[in-house]
């Protein structure tokens, strides 16, 4: 029997499991739209060059060509980011190898490719800025020679190649370091990495004769993208419709529009639908990767291993344009000292432009990098102090009432519980064979709540439908989480609930699936809509059954008399009596930012973290010192989600996050030579396979937050933030050395073990 309040918190299969296993789930590239033209993008062959001339005349006259979009015939304004540094097609300079300079729509893909080859672009190649060192050099060439003329938001920072800078300062670091019994300095470099979704991006756009524009795509943020696209092309947003299909993974890589913009630019110039489907190579060439960067840490502890002071400095390479890249440096300084009590802090983060791909908000931007550096560094300090790494963390861990780096009073702090549970899961402290080691790492994260509206409709056939603009990108937050929340309010099995893929035409706007936000914002909206639907069902039953509200209850899709359950009416009957359907409406109620101490922060727009969550990962690895190989034996992550609406979903996030993080830790790296990406494919950019997958233990910790619905905390991103650090520390425990560079490849491990030998 299913009654309200019994669904949430139990494990349920996903609503989209059947269609996905049957092969009938439709992704964007599966849409075979009649008459669709093929859209192909022409990309810059230079990392940095001045554009002298673009001539499309020859190409335009080729057979089958319907439209060519380029800087001369699309809106001249820059794209609307915090710094207006980017155009859809650059009019003056190309700033990375692969940057789009034009797009062609033709009858066939081959014709479109032929036409792109016939577009004449005259370039004047310039010496590119390829590394952080080059970008920050005294006499550095400028990635944006005209930066001083850019419009930008007041909160942004721009000084030549520096496009972000923030600092958190508390107490006297020099004094703390002088007082310390142990002081350690460590330096790190991080690789840039792909989001790694398996579905290459695709979009189809069609401009109707009535001034409408329809875009079929797989976006993480269909409503936000719709508004941005409409604003760029000067269209009425109510006439632009984004219809999401199933999304084959995203991980932050499908928040910024890409094929959607080119398909739209072309569709607006012809009367046929235009399909832009990227090959894997193109998808890599136009990816928005996790930012590479570097960090330097100096910290001190007293003789007992109590942390006294930390100085940490990060620089991230955000590539050619700001895009949504500014998060990495902001998040890194928030993580650099956390979740540990350190009285004196000086933490800064800098973002620089280079002539490389535009870094994007890949799942927990900046966080695996920051935690890797911080946790390896702290192990070095624990080692110097002669304290076991787990004890070192337990001694210093935040507790209820402590202050965050920016002076936020913390509550429902579960750092110790997470550390202890993760450590216990891998048998911390028990003897291990030679060349095996264990490592541990902890972190924290925020919750976010955007605006979201939802409807829950009970139809005359008794079916219940959840309508939300929150896109299902694979996590199950929409396909599994939202039906569970609605089913809980209505007292039915979630299998009886249909969910809708996001469609801006449904008028259920939502801020999108990013920032671990979905269950918070869309979940609250659906809960409110389902409660509204429930109230309407009860009101209808009152008159139909001539009963008093307090005598009625919901049970298995019926409203019944609680005393005499045989007396009642089904949802279908109630919907019919109400005129065919009953529809509840709801909206998210937001999440207030906690108070911080503004005097501690400079240039930091992301210093207050509501409904903060905590987690720890423990790793066991085996190292082959001859070859430098690492076998990850076991990863255990204990993650505090406050309250698990959908435990199966949380476990899926922890398991998937663990292996993603392991990939970034050990194999994943975008390699460049002279600005050219050397590994734009899945043979040379190595994602973990089933053979690499370790044993994973996923532990849900529930320490309810004061702010979240039922105590919930954001869950999607944290699991990717700590495993790389735990693996690094386990490597050192196994063999006595660890590279301070990701990925920790066999060669780098071998070099760390043999610092005086040449390979």
């Amino acid at each position: 029997m299913t009654v309200p309040g019994t669904v949430i918190g139990a494990k349920w299969p996903r609503g989209d499991g059947h269609v996905k296993a049957a092969g009938s789930a439709r992704y964007t590239a599966d849409m075979m739209i009649d008459g669709a033209l093929s859209g192909v993008v022409l990309r810059s062959p230079h990392a940095f060059a001045r554009i002298r001339r673009v001539d499309i005349a020859t190409a335009r006259a080729l057979p089958g060509v319907h439209a060519i979009a380029f800087s001369g015939n699309v809106p001249a304004k820059p794209l609307d980011f915090s710094i207006k540094d980017q155009h859809l097609f650059p009019p003056d300079y190309v700033r990375y190898l692969g940057e789009p300079v034009a797009a062609v729509a033709a009858e066939t893909e081959a014709q479109a490719r032929d036409a792109t080859a016939a577009i004449i672009v005259e370039y004047e190649p310039l010496a590119p800025v390829l590394t952080i060192e080059q970008a920050l050099a005294q006499d550095a060439a400028l990635v944006h020679p005209d930066w001083q003329s850019y419009e930008r938001r007041e909160s942004s920072v721009l000084e030549g190649n520096v496009c972000g800078r923030n600092r958190i300062r508390r107490g006297d670091v020099d004094e703390g370091l002088v007082r310390a019994a142990h002081v350690v300095t460590s330096e790190f470099t991080f690789s840039a990495g792909l989001p790694g979704y398996i579905e290459p991006r695709c979009a189809v756009a069609h401009a109707g004769k009535d001034g409408t524009l329809t875009v079929w795509c797989g976006s993480q943020s269909p409503h936000g993208n719709r508004d941005d696209l409409a604003a760029f092309f000067d269209l009425d947003p109510s006439k632009v419709r984004f219809i999401n299909q199933y999304v084959g993974g995203a991980f932050g890589g499908k928040i910024l529009m890409a094929p959607e913009m080119y398909a739209a630019a072309l569709a607006l110039q012809c009367d046929r639908p235009v399909r832009v489907a990227w090959s894997r190579h193109e998808d890599c060439m136009h990816a928005f990767p996790r930012a590479g960067g570097s960090a330097v840490f100096t910290s001190g502890a007293d003789a007992d291993g109590r942390l006294l002071a930390m100085r940490a400095s990060f620089v991230f390479d955000t590539g050619a344009y700001i895009g949504y890249g500014s998060g990495s440096a902001l998040i890194a300084t928030m993580l650099a000292s956390a979740p540990y009590r350190i009285p004196a802090l000086d933490l800064d983060g800098t973002l620089v432009y280079t002539n490389k791909h535009i870094a994007g908000p890949v799942r927990a931007p900046g966080a695996p990098q920051a935690n890797f550096a911080k946790e390896l560094h702290l192990d070095e300090l624990a080692l110097a102090a002669g304290v076991d790494p787990l004890d070192f963390r337990l001694i210093n861990a935040w507790q209820d009432g402590d202050l965050s780096p920016t002076g936020q009073r913390l509550s429902s702090v579960s750092v110790r519980e997470a550390l202890e549970k993760a450590a216990a899961a891998i048998g911390w402290g028990r003897p291990l064979p030679a060349l095996r080691g264990r490592g541990i790492a902890a972190g924290w994260w925020f919750s976010a709540c955007g605006t979201s509206q939802a409807r829950v409709r009970v139809n005359a056939d008794g079916r219940v439908r959840v309508i939300s603009g929150n896109p299902e990108m694979g996590t199950g937050a929409a396909a599994q989480g939202l039906p569970i929340i609605a089913a809980d309010a209505l007292g039915i099995d979630p299998a009886n609930i249909e969910f809708a893929l996001a469609d801006t035409g449904d008028e259920a706007p939502d801020d999108g699936a990013h920032g671990s936000i979905s269950t918070f914002s869309a979940g609250q909206a659906v809960a409110a809509a389902a409660a509204d639907a429930r109230d309407q069902l009860l009101a209808q039953a009152e008159s139909m059954l001539e009963a008093r509200r307090e005598d009625l209850e919901l049970r298995d899709g019926r409203v019944v008399n609680a005393e005499v359950p045989s007396v009642g009416a089904s949802f279908a009957e109630l919907a019919l009596a109400a005129g065919g359907s009953i529809e509840g409406r709801g909206a998210s109620s937001g999440l207030a930012d906690p108070e911080i101490d503004e005097s501690l922060v400079q240039g930091h727009g992301f210093a207050a973290w509501p409904a903060a969550s905590f987690l720890a990962t423990a790793a066991e690895v085996e190292v082959d010192p001859e070859m430098g190989g690492v076998h990850v034996v076991h990863l255990a992550t204990a993650q505090d989600v406050g309250f698990a609406f959908n435990p199966a979903g949380v476990i899926g996030q922890i398991e998937g996050g663990a292996v993603q993080a392991m990939g970034w830790a050990l194999t994943e790296e975008l390699k460049y030579e002279d600005g050219a990406l050397l590994n734009p494919d899945l043979k040379h950019y190595l994602l973990p396979t089933a053979l690499d997958a370790p044993r994973i233990t996923a532990i849900i910790v529930e320490r309810p937050s004061e702010e979240g619905p039922r105590g919930m905390k954001g869950a999607g991103e944290p699991p990717v933030t700590t495993p790389a650090a735990a693996i690094g520390n386990a490597i050192r425990a196994a063999c006595g050395a660890v590279p301070h560079t990701t990925p920790m490849t066999p060669e780098r491990i071998w070099r760390a073990l043999n610092p005086n030998l040449r390979a």
Partner: protein, 163 residues
């Protein structure tokens, strides 16, 4: 300038039926299945043989349809994800994946299922390592493989007990 070769007319044996179709002889089996036969359950993730999303079964062996020319498959038995369920009833491997959370975004899922079905036909009682080996050509970015491997193990137990 690209020259499009003339289409050929061929019959392919797909999921137990003979399908007549016209396609360019330079097309891969993946392209013909998706574009000319209309079976879009088979996915593409790289079209270079690196991801496994396009796996189909040809004469009982798992094959990467992106590396196979459609003309090579003439005269062979092709099975795709659409032919795995019987009369709308999911195969135990499909059901186990659907119910266990082994399909998150679901994009790798058809390829994983084809590899797993082929594996269990060859080796009805695989060890965990056998399963991981059998799926090692199929990349999944969402699940960390844990639930996928468990699902295939569960399906193998179910298939054996039904025998």
């Amino acid at each position: 300038m690209s020259i499009a070769p003339a289409k050929i007319l061929a019959s392919l044996s797909i999921n137990g039926s003979v399908v007549e179709c016209a396609f360019n002889p330079n097309k891969t089996l993946l392209e013909v299945l998706r574009e000319d036969v209309g079976l879009t359950g088979t996915k593409h993730g790289c079209e270079m043989g690196h991801c496994g999303a396009c796996t189909v079964i040809v004469d009982d062996l798992p094959v990467l349809s992106c590396l196979t020319l459609a003309v090579e498959s003439i005269g062979h038995e092709i099975r795709t994800i659409e032919g795995v369920a019987r009369d709308g009833v999911l195969h135990p491997v499909q059901r186990a994946l659907a119910e266990s959370g082994g399909a998150q975004c679901g994009y790798c899922t058809p390829g994983i299922i084809m590899s797993a079905v082929a594996l269990l036909e060859q080796n009805p009682a695989p060890t965990r390592e056998d399963v991981a080996q059998g799926l090692s050509g199929n990349l999944c970015r969402c699940t960390g493989y844990t639930k996928i491997i468990e699902a295939v193990e569960n399906a193998s137990a179910e298939l054996r007990s039904a025998r």
